[in-house]
Amino acid sequence: MTDPAHVQSRPDEQTAAAPPVVDVRDLRVHFKVHRGLFGSQLVKAVDGVSFSIAAGETLGLAGESGSGKSTVARTLVRINRPTDGSVLLSGAETARLSGQELRAYRRRMQMVYQDPYDSLDPKMTIKDAIGEGLTVRGVPRARRKSEVEELLARVNLPVALAGRYPGQLSGGQRQRVSIARALAVSPEVIVCDEAVAALDVSIRAQVLNLLKDIQADAGVSYLFISHDLSTLRFMADRIAIMYVGRLVEYGTSEQVFAAPAHPYTQALIAAVPDIAALGGPRPAPLPGEPPNPASPPPGCAFHPRCPLAVELCRTVAPPLVRKANGQLAACHVVPDAPEVAR
């Protein structure tokens, strides 16, 4: 595939020496969905996505339901297999690993899920859940207790909780346990899939601050997935916006929020009811709904909802290229950067 996206996938030139921790190139994840007795249909959940994450950096991935953002997360931790494309971890290809090598890979790439009630074993005490990760890392039994206590302290949980079960904890405490559990294997990357979405507003800030502290201490990289743009603005250094399996915009957090290039990003930002914009005029909402990824519209998938759509958008999917205001966007109408600036 000669998708221009992966030729120039980085909004900031990486500082030449160190390769990014995660480098995803032209990732495709397709599913065969059975329809009726003999029929089957190909759902292109992720269709040519490229991004990279530097050490100690947070990439925010936003999109509505059906955009494929969770599939990207699940493919990175290899719950799903990539259909095509490559996933480089510290420069080494990992997309086709299996067996022992895959287990080793998973130690370096951890995931924190939306609902810790589903991801923690209800019949396992907190210290066993965290201790499991330590076993995987090969921590000797004698040191396990002190390491569990250290991890609990790191996520600001009292040591007294070690003997409890997930059901005895509050939502915020459970999410801290999942974070401690992810940290137990000393991963390089933690994928947070809607990690604070299920938490109460007053608890969210605690967990977000904690994630930032851990990053400052351990230099871990995050792929932070959220539908909540204000949370992403706080967490992420760079932002990727997905729509039906593809990136439509990719740039630094500052660029994307200050001057969104793609009409979808603009609509998404405008649709957020922000308390800081109280009493201001409300923009007319974007019409329509995100399409079913099983049957996306031809051309640019956003064209049926797009206020700028022209004839070309109906037939040809636009490539992700650098736009005049600096970031990458996939849109025929928004003017490209002049050639020299590339």
């Binding site: 509505e64 939502g171 405490q173 007053s202 608890i203 930032k212 204000s230 308390i275 109280l278 974007l286």
Partner: protein, 337 residues
């Protein structure tokens, strides 16, 4: 407040569940009034009692909970215990919930569910009802109403289902519409559509709205007035601009500063509230927020503060701003703490 103009008046409402410890009161002494055409927001975290307040108004408190105190007046008259709920539910007060999949009957076609309302409550004939249903569905922005009426709820998208639920809710032109987290399950672009629609439909019919949400952004942008609930009590109430612009209660203040924004300076850390909200009702004594409150003192742990008007203490223009906090207006509070 002018009682005559109020569509609904709730006074001293208390809802309790049997509890091993504590009072089990999940809604405590809640009073509120909503005037015709007014939009009031009820904000709170999970377990704050906001949904149960709405359910108490609808008399839908799940067993074994019960209303232990308080009255609900509709147009100044009590919705008596002996008047059957079918006489007013849906026609005078309607409700939409977070996921219409659980409020729509999954085995009945959309068309039947709407015409049922119109035929039963408004005594329309079968053909009249069908015509009216089509008109309603079109007005909530459903592209092909006639075809949608032959379909089942499960095949519609979340946004479309919420539109159908809204069409059913307004079909009998209720005086009060209670919307309990109506957009929480929806994508943000669809949320904006549904809120705009909710605004237009209720304005057209002159319905009062009680919008319940955990999202301060949603209620802040939609409502004229806000009520903030914590552990079963209203801890602050007032005009939206005042509550958000000049919050008086430490909980409201902390909540507002813990939300990241799309605009303005980006903080390194978010202000956060230590601890977590209590579940299953408040304690027997003291302010429920005291364990998490930066201003808490001995008196807060002993007596629950009353909800007081604060217009005379600060230079707040409206006289309807209220908060329940001992620290309010106490000049020496911070030094003495």
């Amino acid at each position: 407040m002018d009682l005559v103009a109020d569509v609904i008046t709730v006074e001293h409402l208390t809802v309790a569940f049997p509890a091993k410890e504590g009072t089990g009161e999940v809604v405590r002494d809640v009073s509120l009034a909503i005037g015709a055409g007014e939009r009031v927001g009820l904000v709170g975290e999970s377990g704050s009692g906001k949904s149960l307040t709405a359910r108490a108004i609808m008399r839908l408190i799940p067993q074994p909970g019960r209303v232990t105190n308080g009255t609900v007046l509709f147009d100044g008259a009590e919705l008596g215990a002996n008047s059957a709920p079918t006489k007013w539910r849906g026609t005078k007060i309607a409700m939409i919930t977070q996921d219409p999949l659980s409020s729509l009957n999954p085995l009945v076609k959309i068309g039947t569910q709407i015409t049922e309302m119109l035929r039963y409550h408004r005594r329309l004939s079968r053909t009249e009802a069908r015509g009216k249903a089509e008109e309603l569905l079109r007005s909530v922005g459903i592209p092909d109403p006639r075809r949608t009426m032959t379909r089942y709820p499960a095949v519609l998208s979340g946004g479309m289902r919420q539109r159908v639920a809204l069409a059913i809710a307004i079909s009998c032109e209720p005086r009060l519409l209670i919307a309990d987290e109506p957009t929480t399950a929806l994508d943000v672009t669809v949320q904006a559509q549904v809120l705009t629609l909710l605004e237009r439909m209720t304005a057209e019919h002159g319905s009062a709205v009680l919008l319940i949400s955990h999202d301060l952004g949603v209620v802040g942008n939609f409502c004229d007035r806000l009520l903030v609930m914590y552990a079963g009590r209203i801890v602050e109430s007032g005009p939206t601009a005042t509550v958000i612009g000049a919050p008086a209660h430490p909980y409201t203040r902390a909540l507002l500063s813990s939300i990241p924004s799309l605009r303005g300076e980006l903080p390194d850390r978010l202000a956060s509230i230590p601890g977590s909200p209590p579940h299953g009702g408040g304690k027997a004594s003291g302010c429920a927020f005291a364990p998490r409150c930066p201003l808490a003192r001995e008196v807060c742990r002993q007596t629950d503060p009353a909800l007081l008007k604060i217009s005379d203490l600060r230079t707040v223009p409206a006289d309807s701003h209220q908060a329940a906090c001992h620290a309010l207006g106490d000049e020496n509070w911070n030094q003495a703490a």
